[in-house]
Subunit: 115 residues, 2 copies
Amino acid sequence: MAKRKLDQTPRFADMLAAMGSEPRLRIVRLLLATHPTGAKAGDIQAELGIPSSTLSHHLEKLRNEDLIAMRRDGTSLWYTANVDVLRELLSFLYAECCTRSQVIAVEEILSACNS
Amino acid sequence: MAKRKLDQTPRFADMLAAMGSEPRLRIVRLLLATHPTGAKAGDIQAELGIPSSTLSHHLEKLRNEDLIAMRRDGTSLWYTANVDVLRELLSFLYAECCTRSQVIAVEEILSACNS
DNA sequence: TCTGTATTTCTACTAGTATCGAAATATATG
DNA sequence: CATATATTTCGATACTAGTAGAAATACAGA
């Protein structure tokens, strides 16, 4: 087994933690549902009924983990899901699946949702 | 859009939160790697270098979310990953992917790792 | 430039989570 | 039944995260 260049576990753990709260998971799902257009902060706030300051806090956390991206359009800020990063996360989870007991290739985790 | 029977979001958020800490993510990956045999608590402890009381705490949390299962064999407790539940989680994440903008079927998320 | 709208940053409080040594429990074996 | 091994439960501490009202910032339009 070759030496790992860099352990990605802490990074993916942080990503999972970022999605591991009900409001943030709802946000991510909303952005997946509206992908690739995304949604304005105000829309998210209206749909999920979260106070704007709290919402901003959550969006920042998701953005820190690179799970979502932001772009400005006038006074509105649009948020979109980073589906590539999400795919990366799922691949990581299953990358070592069963490697020590039986050989099962786990390729092509997801090919939907073109970014 | 039909009325939802029950909102699964809190449950899946808890599952993500359970995997959203570095030691627990390592545990899950170790159990995936050794699936379907699994590993004894002592083996996990040795491999990850976590004090037994701390490890026990983490294992309990993962078990509460049904991400792993436990069975006793003599004085040893064996833990295994619940790959079905993990698959369910991945499906949930992508279930509504792009539904509001373009129609992309997201079936067959994962067919590897037969439980 | 003044006004309104969209969103973030500041500040503070509360509650939950991670950690681990020590003691307790469960099982097996001589 | 006494002892050894495997693992959990107890208890205590330190840290981290979620929440939201109020103030600040960014942009657009008259």
